[in-house]
Symmetry: C2
Subunit: 144 residues, 2 copies
Amino acid sequence: MANPEATPRSPCVFSNVLDILGDRWTLLIVRDLFFFGKHEYKEFLSSPEAIATNILASRLQKLVCAGIIDEMPHPENKSRKLYFLTERGKDLLPMLIEMAKWGEKHLTETEVMRPLFEVIRRDAAAFQRKVLRDLKNWEKAHLA
Amino acid sequence: MANPEATPRSPCVFSNVLDILGDRWTLLIVRDLFFFGKHEYKEFLSSPEAIATNILASRLQKLVCAGIIDEMPHPENKSRKLYFLTERGKDLLPMLIEMAKWGEKHLTETEVMRPLFEVIRRDAAAFQRKVLRDLKNWEKAHLA
DNA sequence: ATAAAGTACTTGCAAAATGCAAGTACTTTT
DNA sequence: AAAAGTACTTGCATTTTGCAAGTACTTTAT
């Protein structure tokens, strides 16, 4: 796994971002946090891409190290954890929306998120506000 | 390498985008095309991240397959090729800009692109227009 | 109270991707 | 005609991924 302490490949923003987010799995976890209200290990496992348990564990750890997500014990169940986006993580939303817009325009096979992204197409800024509002509500209910 | 003909992991836009762009190298080539006016194999090789020749060749091929870039023989030198962004590729610019904005805000080590992204911070839309204008000028000079 | 099920992992191992060095085929320059 | 340039390919060691199984702990069911 890419070690954040190691000297970076280059001082370019893009290479540094890609060292954190540049793989086929990491952003799917972030997607689940943003758009599907997922907060638990087993919920990430249940996504249609079927991430393997070892990959999921390593990516969650990497995201925590990068300060993009944080974790807390589940308030009602000691054997569970809750994962949630930090402010740094929430700042990824505009990028994810641009990624989705590109995919919706150019990859015609993708269908599941169509209805969701009809909303984006109509008013991306409003959609963005709604997503962030939903996250805030979750935080109010779960964080001290 | 991920085969575009294979059945996708899921019908989600994000997973489909990540199957094309989700690795540590692909977007660096796109970056070079957008922001550093690079168009040739040897130019991509000279980037500070030092991509290996086999990886570069495989990624260029993947990007051509995905319709993000196209290639043509160098007009003045049969042993060289020119690579350039297609319209589909140029549509990635907003995503790259959001990625850079996130990195500039949260990854303080990155420095090289600072001056470039001072411009973004001041007026992202204007920067975007300038980049696209520069690409158009290159096309006028090189494409039929 | 005990057994079964749930949860978040870890481990082992085969398969695939990456990274590095060297080689190849062709073209251009000297 | 020889040397250098260009865009690759190949071979091989190392790393990462993917899959199946196991582990340690907690909660639920009987």
